[in-house]
């Protein structure tokens, strides 16, 4: 944190995209300086700049690969979570059955003792 250049970097970024910090709120203005045109819209721009998606959306090969990769990772994670959920469901059923068995045995034991 002590580097002068690092401070200057942070200040330059703060100057470029200023934030207003009040006692109870923080705000900033979104500057949208891009021109509206009839050309096809870029997919990433629509995701990251919130630009309106037009009739035709273009995507670079590298961006498509990245999205494909991210979707594949999410699918893997989903699969992993689905398996965990299944195991947890089975475990919870086993726990419930064991609990019922214990309660039933205790009830039988109490009846025998009486």
């Amino acid at each position: 944190m002590s580097s002068e250049k690092f401070k200057k970097f942070l200040e330059s970024q703060a100057e470029k995209t200023p934030v207003s910090i009040g006692e109870r709120k923080i705000s900033w203005e979104e500057r949208d300086e891009r021109k509206v045109s009839a050309q096809p819209s870029d997919f990433l721009e629509s995701v990251y700049f919130g630009e309106e998606i037009r009739d035709t959306v273009v995507m670079e090969r590298s961006a498509a690969s990245m999205l494909k990769h991210q979707l594949a990772s999410l699918e893997d994670e989903n699969e992993h979570l689905r398996k965990s959920l299944k195991i947890l469901k089975i475990a919870s059923i086993v726990v419930v059955v064991v609990a019922i068995a214990i309660i039933y045995n205790l009830w039988l034991l109490l009846n025998l003792l009486q």
Partner: protein, 416 residues
């Protein structure tokens, strides 16, 4: 003629003799503009690695160039130095005759992958310390330009250690010629009497190059560009599970990690700090030569600086994989702007603010590099009594920062 024009002339002369791969020549020209420049050309056989190496070295140093070839038998005396036998016999003094490779301004290494490990070790030392050792004596090596080439697919390759390759500022890849380029090459060969290299003139003297290098080194990089370069390198290094010291490597290390979809999970061996120096030098060279450089240019430059320094978890085509990683990095930088991460950190650096801290914590949850800086601030606030340890982002996430001998280290709580 100004120094800049001479450099541009050098590029023109090389391009007029070398067909295709124009961006690669441009990269090599930019990389000549700092002291002790080292360039690695990688390509399959017969694509023009040696020709490009010789064209560049001839243009810079004329006849003051020596090429060591890994394809021939290389002895130590040819690379570094040999004993002067008469001195030893007559006076009993060990005097070393330093090899012409040591003294030459233009140094070429042909088929570096075939160089034996001993020669490689000597050259590694030269690139690292700017000096050479032989028979217990050392001599400093004056400023030079070193261009090496290799075909990594060559079956007779030695496997050189990664730190050796890390000493090369840039690594460029040549591709084979397209149909029209083949015709162009044949025309060129006819124009230059079948000898492209012999026709190459020395465009500038080495002293002039030294002067240009000095001017480039004096270029003051603005904090924004320096920030982007440091950010880029840090994003290719940072790992919340401390892969630098971990015995387990990605992808096994990344199993279940919160940042599994980040760039860090794609990188097995993190980037060395030499990448920062190389990026800074090349950015300065662009500014000196063209008057300006922006983030997009830095990312383009990164494609010459990163591939030989980083080991990826999986890749089928190195350049395509790095291209994709750099696109992801660009998106990450835009995301940071969108979240106002750096303005928030700038405010928090001035003092604790609960609102800004809450937003910063949200951003840190998705960004290791930002989280590192936030956790450093948290430590300061704990020291100042502004914040309790259990309230910190580091505690909530189970991430911890410790500083030992100036090294910042992160450890997951469960590894402690």
């Amino acid at each position: 003629m100004s120094l800049r024009n001479r450099i541009l002339d050098l590029e023109k002369e090389v391009k007029s003799r070398f067909v295709g791969n124009e961006d690669v020549i441009h990269a090599m020209i930019l990389n000549q503009l700092h002291p002790r420049s080292t360039n690695l050309i990688r390509a399959p056989r017969g694509v023009g690695k040696s020709t490009l190496m010789l064209l560049m070295l001839k243009g810079l140093s004329g006849d003051d160039l020596v090429v060591i070839s890994g394809a021939s038998e290389v002895k130590r005396g040819e690379v570094i130095g040999r004993l002067h036998i008469p001195s030893l016999e007559k006076e009993g003094v060990e005097r070393v005759l330093w090899a012409s490779f040591v003294n030459a301004r233009g140094k070429g290494l042909d088929e570096v992958n075939r160089l034996n490990p001993y020669t490689t070790a000597n050259i590694h030392h030269l690139m690292q310390f700017g000096e050479v050792w032989a028979y217990g004596q050392k001599t400093p090596v004056e400023d030079y330009s070193l261009v090496a080439n290799e075909n990594p697919m060559d079956a007779t390759s030695f496997i050189h250690p990664p730190p050796f390759y890390d000493r090369f500022d840039i690594c460029i890849f040549l591709s084979s010629l397209t149909l029209s380029e083949k015709f162009r090459l044949q025309e060129l060969m006819n124009d230059y009497g079948q000898s492209l290299v012999d026709s190459m003139p020395q465009v500038l003297s080495f002293d002039e190059l030294g002067e240009a290098r000095k001017e480039v080194s004096e270029v003051d990089l603005d904090p924004e560009l320096a920030g982007y370069i440091n950010l880029l390198v840090r994003d290719f290094q940072a790992c919340i599970r401390d892969k630098e010291r971990s015995e387990v490597r990605p992808p096994a290390l990344c199993e279940g990690c919160h940042f599994i979809r980040n760039i860090c999970s794609e990188i097995k061996e993190p980037l060395s700090e030499r990448a920062t120096i190389a990026l800074m030098n090349l950015t300065k060279a662009v500014i000196w030569l063209y008057g300006e450089c922006d983030l997009e240019e830095v990312l383009r430059i990164a494609l010459w600086v990163l591939p030989h320094r980083v080991t990826l978890v999986r890749t089928s085509n190195l350049l395509v994989s790095f291209g994709e990683l750099l696109v992801r990095e660009r998106i990450k930088m835009e995301d940071r702007n969108f979240r106002r991460e750096w303005p928030l950190l700038n405010e928090l650096r001035k003092g604790y603010n609960s609102g800004a801290y809450k937003l910063a914590k949200e951003a840190a949850f998705e960004d290791i590099t930002f989280a590192e800086e936030l956790m450093k601030l948290e430590e300061r606030w704990i020291g100042e009594g502004v914040l309790r340890k259990e309230e910190t982002f580091a505690t909530q996430m189970g991430w911890r920062i410790t500083t030992r001998r100036g090294i910042t280290q992160y450890e997951r709580g469960r590894y402690l």
